[in-house]
């Protein structure tokens, strides 16, 4: 059968190469203990792509459980407000669990079962990947442990409650900056001891090969649908496509099917935090250098000794010192333009979209919206800008109020 949702041969199908490299980026820089499991995962993944029963099961889940395809929605009042190109939103927030993360966790849960593994672990920052993993595990009856930094547990309470209700065990991570980076470290350590029985459902296009490949492929449904919807609606492709980038999974999924469409500019938006000073932002591609973090060679924020920098973003999901290796490749080839968006710009975009469109976007997504509006303003009224609305912002309501109160009481 011809699937609407599943990985299709792509124009850029040659990447990554057999060593998991996107150009010079990617690879596998992990302890030997994990190599056999990564080999197994790669083999099973490639076999699953050719297995009609596996594909059919995932296809039905994406349609009936997730609710795909997600709409491509014309943001009329936001467009009028900006006064430039038409702004269209790819509504990944309308997926079951409220974000794009579920696209990958269902596929990876099916892979877990296919590999005969009995337990799932995952890291989470904003909690969207944790909720999507807990959901997939509840659906399939798999025990699930989620590693989450203490700081993120504080700022994303609604998702913590959801994960618990879905039956997941939450392991608070108290080391380092107590955010996403430390949650990845702790999940990797669990996996070092449990690798024979456990699959690690990584949430982004980061980590050792084949994770950047697998997560991108499962998320590429976003870009494929956008292309199809654009053709049906406009009879052509958009004039620009914008998505936020932390590790970069929604952006990789949106951009990948567009990479060969070289007339379509692609804009990735990183977390610019509070300033350009080291430690006050999380813009790995803008301010970082190629290096090693979490098993992959990619842009990373490090000091001159190779120690990972502390980073900052108001958004837990973008508060990460690295980025997926394919984004580093797209930066080096110039195929994608990466911009950096400050916390306060993202908060302003959140307000604007909430009040003009009746949509509460996630704080992560608000970064894409801020720069997407900027891109729209640079363009004419007959042009079309698509922004990936990667997740809903209900989880952020409390934290946004806290940040606003903090800003209101801060002396100028």
């Amino acid at each position: 059968m011809s699937s609407h949702f599943l990985p299709q041969p792509s124009p850029d199908a040659s990447l990554p190469d057999e060593k998991g490299r996107f150009g010079e980026f990617g690879g596998r820089f992990v302890p030997e203990t994990l190599i056999a499991a990564l080999d197994q995962l790669e083999t099973e993944y490639f076999q699953s792509r050719k297995d009609p029963a596996f594909q059919a099961e995932l296809d039905i889940l994406l349609r009936d459980f997730v609710g795909r395809p997600s709409p491509l929605y014309f943001a009329k009042r936001l467009t009028e407000h900006c006064g430039g190109a038409q702004i269209w939103l790819k509504r990944e927030d309308l997926n079951h669990t409220g974000a794009h993360k579920i696209n990958s966790t269902l596929g990876q849960a099916l892979l877990t079962i296919r590999m005969g593994k009995k337990r799932v672990i995952a890291e989470t920052g904003a909690g969207q990947h944790g909720v999507a993993t807990a959901t997939a595990c509840a659906h399939f009856g798999l025990p699930c442990v989620i590693y989450m930094g203490e700081e993120d547990i504080r700022r994303q309470q609604p998702n913590v409650q959801s994960m618990k209700m879905l039956g997941a065990e939450i392991c608070p991570v108290t080391s380092g900056s107590r955010t996403l980076r430390d949650a990845v470290n702790q999940a990797m350590r669990d996996w070092m001891s449990s690798v024979e029985e456990t699959h690690y459902i990584l949430g982004s296009v980061v980590g050792p090969h084949p994770f950047p490949l697998i997560v991108r492929d499962y998320q590429a449904v976003i870009g494929r649908e956008t292309i199809r919807q654009s053709q049906a609606r406009f009879g052509r492709l958009p004039d620009a496509v914008v998505a936020c980038v932390g590790g970069g999974s929604n952006a990789a999924g949106m951009f990948y099917p567009f990479v060969a469409e070289t007339d379509v500019p692609l804009v990735g938006v990183e977390a610019g935090g509070e300033s350009d000073q080291p430690g006050r932002h999380a813009s790995s591609l803008t301010f970082g250098k190629p290096g090693i973090l979490h098993g992959s060679f990619s842009y990373v924020l490090q000091d001159e000794d190779g120690q990972t920098d502390d980073v900052h973003s108001a958004s837990a999901g973008l508060d990460y010192p690295g980025v997926g290796p394919e984004h580093s490749h797209w930066k080096s080839t110039g195929r994608v333009e990466y911009r950096s968006c400050r916390d306060n710009e993202a908060l302003a975009a959140f307000d604007l979209v909430a009040r003009n469109e009746g949509i509460l976007p996630a704080l992560e997504t608000s970064h894409a919206l801020a720069k997407g509006m900027e891109v729209a303003k640079e363009r004419g009224k007959d042009e079309i800008v698509v922004i990936c609305l990667s997740g809903r912002g209900d989880k952020d309501a409390g934290e946004i109020q806290r940040l606003k109160n903090e800003a209101a009481t801060r002396p100028n």
């Binding site: 596998r28 302890p31 001891s193 190779g306």
Partner: protein, 269 residues
């Protein structure tokens, strides 16, 4: 022939096994690390692993993680570590190898890292996050400089791959006893001795065992099937009691010295 090759040749001719302690550089200070290394050498330890603290060590358990954090919080820099090593290696006879993340080597540059390490009298490196598939460039450069690149084989390594790793390795093979992270274990896996016997049958390199080893019983169980034993967390845990007080640090040096002496006696009893 590197200092490590010479060490194992000598031990073999004497019918002895190596005891190899691990210490974290700069925990709690580089001055303490220097004193600790000199003490371990004086006790008769055969080789020391010097852990280069790293912000994101995914192969390490809580004891070594905490030591890395203490060291980095104390301001330890690579340049300081090499200066300290330079001073210490001039005075001691046991070789030193660094346990170092590839993140650190890559940032400095492979050539520069090797140049500074060799200038500091360091004999080799263990790079726990660089599997054999990614090690061609580093391995080639290490061979040219006679700098040992010690690679790891684990219980999850398929046998064909283990042979491939052994062929790329110089100095000795680091056999990881358990599927897991560093840290003291009460018991070691039951198939460990069999796995070591198999590995012995396919390589002439010395085979040293690490991860989890902390007790005299472990030494008894392994000394007939391994050429050396590596002890990390059991030592780092003792060093965690060190401060910047001279008197307390004497106690820690004595404590680690006695522990090492016990292991040394057991391994060559």
């Amino acid at each position: 022939m590197s200092a490590i090759d010479k060490l194992f040749m000598r031990l073999k001719s004497e019918g002895k096994k190596a005891f190899m302690p691990f210490v974290t550089a700069g925990d709690p200070s580089l001055e303490f690390t220097a004193a600790m290394l000199k003490r371990l050498d004086a006790e008769g330890c055969h080789l020391a692993e010097l852990g280069i603290p790293y912000s994101d060590p995914i192969a390490d358990g809580p004891v070594i993680q905490a030591s890395y954090t203490r060291s980095l919080n104390g301001g330890t820099k690579l340049s300081g570590i090499f200066s300290m090593a330079c001073e210490v290696t001039a005075e001691i006879s046991m070789p030193i190898v660094t346990m170092v993340s590839y993140a650190i080597i890559y940032r400095m540059g492979i050539d520069e890292y090797l140049r500074q390490a060799i200038a500091a009298g360091i004999s080799g490196a263990i790079v726990p996050d660089m599997p054999v598939d990614e090690s061609d460039e580093l391995a080639a450069k290490c061979k040219l400089l006679d700098f040992s690149l010690i690679q790891l084989i684990t219980p999850t390594t398929p046998r064909e791959r283990a042979v491939q790793i052994a062929e790329q390795t110089t100095g000795f093979i680091y056999y990881v006893s358990v599927t897991g992270i560093t840290g003291e274990r009460t018991e070691l896996p039951p198939d460990l001795a069999d796995n070591l016997k198999w590995l012995r049958s396919v390589t002439d390199l010395p085979i040293c065992v690490g991860f989890g080893i902390s007790k005299l019983e472990h030494v008894e169980a392994l000394k007939s099937v391994a050429d050396g034993l590596i002890v990390g967390s059991a030592i780092v845990r003792r060093i965690a009691a060190a401060t910047n007080e001279q008197a307390e640090n004497e106690d820690v040096l004595n404590d680690v010295g006695e522990f090492s002496q016990g292991m040394l006696t057991a391994i060559n009893a």
